[in-house]
């Protein structure tokens, strides 16, 4: 891992089009500003992991499972 030391307000550039700036340091919290092209996805790590985990969990294992969910849906519709 590349490790750099920066002061408040200083910037790190990643490639030509990504700019990372240290905006505020307060206790153990750091506020960071990131400028990047719209097609560069930026996530907090825990959010990225949560979404990836849900995507993995949304994989369809077999069509029968889809059928069972459809039956559960039908029951719900009939109840309301």
């Amino acid at each position: 891992m590349l490790i750099l030391t920066r002061k408040l307000g200083e910037v790190i550039r990643v490639g030509d089009s990504v700019v990372v700036r240290v905006l505020e340091v307060k206790g153990n919290q750091v506020r960071i500003g990131i400028e990047a092209p719209a097609d560069v996805r930026i996530y907090r790590e825990e959010v990225y992991r949560a979404i990836r985990r849900e995507n993995e969990g949304a994989q369809l294992e077999d069509l029968e499972r889809l059928d069972r969910a459809a039956i559960a849906w039908q029951k719900r519709v009939e109840k309301t």
Binding site: R53, N55, A58, Q59, L60, L66, A69, A70, Q74
Partner: protein, 151 residues
Amino acid sequence: MAEAGREDVAGRTIAVRSRRFGDYDVPEDRLLVFPEGLVGFPDARRFALLEPSRAESPFHYLVCVDHPELGFVVCDPERIWPGYTREVPRPTDAAGEIAVLVLVRIPADPGEATANLMAPLVVDATSRRGRQLVLDTGRWATRHPLFPGAG
């Protein structure tokens, strides 16, 4: 295999063979293309949205023609959470209407199924290009129960 379908100039149809989901043909112009893939699945780019097996079902399956054994369950969130679609920000590069789908997790007990409203799939209806957005606002969670109180 799926790539070979691109050479089929007569029909421009991609023939997909899947052990898991069976064999099916997708006209190329019906594909949904996610240039960035899905989160955690960067290589899953071209998808076909297949109809539910039961007419009343809100669940569709989104199968990846690039990886024929990879498929996801999705539903139209509007049927379950009316108004949700309106709150999904429109991609700045969307040319026309957008369609919104959400991924559904169906565990062994289908009564515990949940939908991921935090990371919807947003598709430009004109270009059929899509992207998985992440709504990191705290308002939507990754697991909204589809059948509250079921079981």
